[in-house]
Amino acid sequence: MSTRSVVPFGPHHPVLPEPIHLDLVLEDEKVVDVIPSIGFIHRGLEKLVEKRDFRDFVYVAERMCGICSFMHGMSYCEAVEHIMGVELPPRAKYLRTIWCELSRLHSHLLWLGLLADAFGFESLFMQCWRLREKILDMFEASTGGRLIFSVNKIGGQRRDMDNAMLHGFVEKLGGLEEDLKGITSTFLANSAVNSRLKGVGYMTKKMAQEYGVAGPFMRASGIARDTRKLGYDAYGDLNFEPITSTEGDCYARTQVRVRELFQSIDLIRQAVAKIPEGPVAVPIRGFPKGEYMVRVEQPRGEAIYYVKANGTKFLDRFRVRTPTFANVPAMIELMKGCRLSEIPMLILTIDPCVSCIER
């Protein structure tokens, strides 16, 4: 009869860029139970909304996480704008869409690098992060920041991108697309890489639905749902379909994210071709009163932003349900039955963002 032992996983572990603690209950090499513990980086950012002017809180919202910072700030602004009845200028909507897709490219490339690092493919990791640098350079050129941009404000954008810059980005993305073809063939066709990903952490379509998972983690199990199809910002004017896979394992999740890189480049091309001229912000007056729930597709999946305002400069509630939070219960369930050596791959392929979970 096998004996049970508990192996602590994290909060510091080579595959964890951020701290989360898991107690893995093992029977020999097999994981039979998982007990998570979070809160190492809980900052109470949601609570701060009660003490910060709603216009200044944009800066707090975008500091929730360093990867999705643009989308956090943008979605907060959109919730407040909706409550205040602010209609955004069309150019601002297109700018938001372009920065969103650049953020997705940056996030997916970062994640691919971390994945390569986790299975010990150092040169592939460096290639991914070298390509990511090109996106960060675009952020720096267009916003002045590489991770925290501070270009969102209630009522629009603080900065515009001129047409020369936008077309320059499209040209650079063409070059990036060629580079990506090289690294993606390694991720998807290399036998050593595939041996670490195929058949690991399989999730059925039914389980994905049952656990309410989000993003590439969900789409890799065959559910064709992408919140961008709601048509927020300029997405309603762009032509795209959710990228899915039916394999449901770690390989499928990698495959979905790799294909989303090319989709993001295509969406930026479409947006640059259609972006109208005009102002990028409108003035706002008064204070918000009411509530609204915004849904956006972050790189890791659907995120929900809830704002409740009372007609003063302080809000009653700002709540963010991030995709990683939605994905953790299913990840824990999938771990049960895995071998200990498979756990790092499984954790990584949900692309966990602990800062987002804890806020």
Binding site: I35, P36, S37, I38, G39, F40, H42, G44, E46, K47, Q209, E210, Y211, G212, V213, R225, T227, K229, L230, E291, Y292, M293, R295, E302, I304, Y306, K308, D316, R317, R319, R321, F325, A326, V328, P329, A330, E333, E358
Partner: protein
């Protein structure tokens, strides 16, 4: 929250399980559970989605009042419920996985709880 793709339904806490079971049968997925601290109570909002449509169920509970868990209907709900318990101090009954206040390592216990509870004036 009054758009064509979203609805808000007020429910009584005792009718929550019946309504949630009905939504599960109709194919809805659980999107999130949110608690908001109001002046003298907590506002609980349960969000469900089918395709791209959003449906919210809402009720309020006073400090110390127990809320039934929906984790035996939606298995992922326990994570939201433990969060609400740890951050707001709302007692949730019959969670399938109960971390007993140890999911979040916060320096202050239930940091988002009602002010009246902090001052010790809430129901015992």
């Amino acid at each position: 929250m009054a758009e064509s793709d979203r609805q808000l339904l007020e429910v009584r806490p005792e009718a929550l399980l019946e309504k949630v079971t009905e939504l599960k049968t109709r194919g809805y997925r659980l999107v999130q559970i949110c608690s908001t601290t109001l002046k003298d109570c907590y506002e609980m909002t349960y969000s469900f989605s089918i395709e791209y449509d959003l449906l919210n169920l809402r009720f309020t509970v006073k400090a110390g009042e127990k809320v039934p868990s929906i984790s035996h209907i939606y298995p992922s709900a326990y994570f939201y419920e433990n969060e609400i318990h740890d951050l707001f101090g709302v007692p949730i009954e019959f969670m399938t996985v109960d971390y007993k206040g140890r999911l979040y390592r916060t320096a202050v216990k239930a940091p988002y709880k009602l002010k009246q509870e902090e001052e010790g004036g809430g129901p015992k």
